[in-house]
């Protein structure tokens, strides 16, 4: 039977990014309480308003219950057994990249993200986040010439408190959900982007998140603000070492687009997924949301999700501005015992708003891959339109794919379209490609990337190539 072969053969190659950097770190004790939060805030020399924000969020979180509606199966997380702050020990003040610990630079080098002046990527500015802190941000001066602010959120708190005060928590309120509340209470670092009025960001901006420590969670927070008539393309990548314990990653990302502004946010997520028996791996519980505040503003999410033991993630758009546009393009690949519950929410509030959802789920091994999405047309969203397409591909006969589309409309003068399909890579297709001299694995990856084409076309060039390679790697087996 071909299916058995597939399941046997189509197993990922060893995780390439599973190494640990041996570096002295400053960690605080395990556990979560008000003192810990005060300690984090103090370490980061935060103003009082932020400490209050954290404490309020913590109070809310304590009253909340961990959600179980996604039906994900995992061992209860012990929130008192996690370290909430872990940072590599560095000099007090770092004035240039030359002062960054070479071990850290080496780590990012190995991940394909060189940071030093001589080697840094030329077409993209990078903010490198290691465990709880941002290590370095490249091209800051060049970007500053255009008025673009790109720095770690900790620095933004210090240098641009007004912007933080004005926007933090306005898209994802602390009380939004369990994991967002937790993040609001303990977030340690992340990226901050501000694009001033009328500016098209001269290069792609990118954050690279690296979890190094096995017993600390990563709680990063990203805030992107695009002023009137500005635009930016932002990329996010993630990897983590292989540990046999589960590591919690609960991030919050907030995007704000004003009149005629556009934000494109692309993710290639490759957190460690655990081994074939499902031991270890990252729990990726993330809240990502964009607010199309301005008229004709546009927010576009594209994501390639290949890693994590569990992914729980719904990048969404609140379409307030008249004629604003929300987009969601997603490829989620699960293998072995991975579980992914991902999708989007398109909340149409303003009139003549438009949204597009294209979701491609690929399930192999014994994995479970679900699309969960909400399209809501509010009472004032007259003349609004949504188009959704959810396709699933099954590899082998042990994997499962689910689609849960929720549609709510309070506006008769709006259109919602939903298409869904499921396919399986057939023995006949494989044989056809093989009979033309194409290797089994290449045949599988050709079909998988063909299946994902609509989404890959939305990714920035260099990311699309990387995503294609990553999927092929994930599906690469040990044929022999």
């Amino acid at each position: 039977m071909v299916n058995e072969n597939l399941v046997k053969n189509v197993v990922k190659e060893p995780y390439k990014y599973g190494f640990v950097t041996d570096i002295e770190t400053e960690k605080i004790g395990k556990g979560l309480n008000e003192d810990i939060i005060r300690l984090i805030s103090q370490k980061k020399e935060e103003p009082k308003f932020l400490l209050d924000f954290r404490l309020k969020a913590f109070k809310k979180w304590q009253k909340m219950i961990e959600p179980d509606w996604a039906g994900l199966g995992y061992k209860q997380i012990d929130y008192q057994d996690i370290i909430y702050y872990s940072a590599p020990k560095q000099k007090e003040k770092i004035s240039s990249l030359d002062e960054v610990d070479p071990k850290l630079l080496e780590t990012f080098d190995k991940l394909g993200i060189p940071l030093t002046e001589q080697k840094k990527l030329t077409n993209v500015a990078v903010d490198a986040v290691f465990d709880s802190v941002s290590i370095a941000t490249t091209f800051r001066e060049e970007l500053a010439e255009h008025g673009v602010i790109f720095c770690s959120i900790s620095e933004a708190v210090k240098n641009h408190p007004d912007l933080i005060k004005k926007y933090l928590g306005t898209v994802v309120p602390a009380s939004d959900n369990y994991f967002a509340a937790l993040n609001s209470a303990v977030f340690s670092d992340g990226s901050f982007v501000y694009i001033p009025k009328g500016v098209t960001c001269p290069m792609d901006l990118s954050s690279y998140f690296r979890i190094n420590s096995g017993d600390s969670g990563q709680f990063e927070r990203t805030l992107i603000i695009a002023e009137e008539s500005s635009s930016v393309s932002y990329l996010e990548g993630c990897t983590a070492p292989m540990f046999d314990t589960n590591t919690l990653h609960a991030a919050v990302v907030e995007l704000i687009a004003l009149d005629d502004a556009s934000i494109k946010y692309s993710t290639v997520q490759n957190w460690y997924a655990g081994d074939e028996e499902g031991i270890g791996g990252i729990f990726n519980f993330v809240t990502k949301r964009g607010k199309c505040l301005g008229k004709r503003s546009k927010i576009s999410w594209s994501q390639v999700e290949t890693g994590s033991a569990i992914t729980w993630k719904y990048p969404s758009c609140l379409l307030l501005g008249e004629e604003s546009i929300g987009e969601f393009y997603s490829v989620a690949l699960t293998n072995n015992l991975q579980q992914a519950d991902t999708g989007t929410k398109m909340i149409h509030i303003g009139p003549k708003t438009k949204s597009t959802i294209v979701s491609k789920g690929i399930s192999a091994g014994n994995s479970i891959n679900s699309y969960r999405g909400l399209v809501k047309m509010g009472a004032k969203a007259t003349g609004s339109r949504n188009y959704s397409q959810c396709d699933s591909m099954l590899i082998g006969d042990q994997a499962s794919a689910n689609t849960f589309p929720y549609i709510k409309s309070q506006q008769p003068n709006s259109e919602i379209e939903h298409e869904a399909s499921t396919c399986r890579i057939s023995e006949d297709q494989l044989f056809y490609l093989q009979s033309r001299g194409i290797e089994f694995e290449e045949a599988v990856s050709m079909m998988v990337s063909g299946f994902c084409r609509d989404v890959f076309n939305q990714l920035p060039m260099e990311f699309a190539a990387e995503a294609d390679k990553l999927l092929a790697l994930k599906l690469e087996g040990s044929v022999g």
Binding site: Q434, E439, F440, M446, G450
Partner: protein
């Protein structure tokens, strides 16, 4: 056929081949030898095992060889993967070419051509060089360039699919091509294009096996040998006249041979 000193080595030797799928025996001792420059036709009723024979030679994983051997250029290939057989020069033209959504025909043809070229120690072609090559080959099957940007066989008409098969054959330059009912579903014009394409691609160094129900393809490409299959066996072999006789008398006529065999 007696082999003499002057005769070249055979391309394909099928020796007493038996095969089954899901415990159902489909081939019951088939023998067939193809020498360079030869064209063989295999005819027979639906379900007689002709298509199965072609798939087994190409290495389809659903069938088990229970007895006998397949040799290609003197080497036993029973246990080779389908892609290894294809790379070394065995080509199967499908009766029903498979649709592969999302995979561009051009990319598919390029990857496939390069797999064969790699085997032949020829330089692999980049997108630009391949464009040049494929343009030339499109002429042979009179296909429009637009076919290349579509997904493999998706939304192609029956005739377009068959022409795409011959295009692949032209690119891969196989040592032996087994064409499974390439003529079915073609109108007269398409049949002529396909037939002339096959003739252009083949030469005195290649072998061809045509699997067909009808005389009309054989009017275009005259075979050296015609084999009649029934119930998993070759029950009669003759020259091109055998096909004409079959056309005239129908397969019922061949039922007599079964007793003889």
């Amino acid at each position: 056929m007696q082999s003499t000193m002057k005769e070249p080595d055979p391309i394909l030797e099928v020796e007493n081949l038996s095969a089954s799928t899901d415990n159902l025996t489909i081939l019951k001792g088939v023998s067939l030898t193809v020498y360079p420059g030869e064209i063989h036709a295999i005819m027979g009723r639906n379900g007689c095992g002709k298509s199965t024979l072609s798939k087994i030679i190409a290495g389809h994983p659903s069938y088990n060889i229970t007895n006998g051997d397949i040799k290609f250029l003197g080497e036993n290939i029973n246990s080779l993967e389908p892609e290894e057989r294809a790379q070394s020069g065995i080509f199967l033209g499908f009766q029903y070419p498979i649709e592969i959504p999302g995979v561009s025909n051009l990319e598919f043809l390029r990857v496939s051509t390069n797999a064969r070229r790699k085997f032949l120690n020829k330089e692999e072609l980049d997108t630009f060089d391949f464009e040049e090559l494929v343009k030339e080959k499109l002429e042979i099957v009179k296909m429009d360039h637009a076919f290349l940007s579509r997904s493999v066989n998706q939304g192609f008409s029956g005739g377009e699919k068959k022409r795409n098969e011959i295009l692949q054959m032209a690119l891969l330059e196989p040592k032996i091509a087994i064409l499974d009912e390439t003529d079915s579903g073609l109108d007269i014009d398409a049949l002529r294009i396909v037939a002339s394409g096959i003739k252009k691609i083949s030469n005195d160094q290649t072998g061809i096996i045509l699997i067909t129900h009808y005389q009309r393809l054989l009017d275009e490409i005259e075979p050296n040998y015609v084999h009649v299959m029934s119930d998993g066996q070759i029950i009669k072999t003759g020259g091109s006249n055998l096909a004409l006789e079959l056309e005239e008398k129908g397969y019922e006529w061949t039922d007599n041979f079964i007793q003889e065999a």
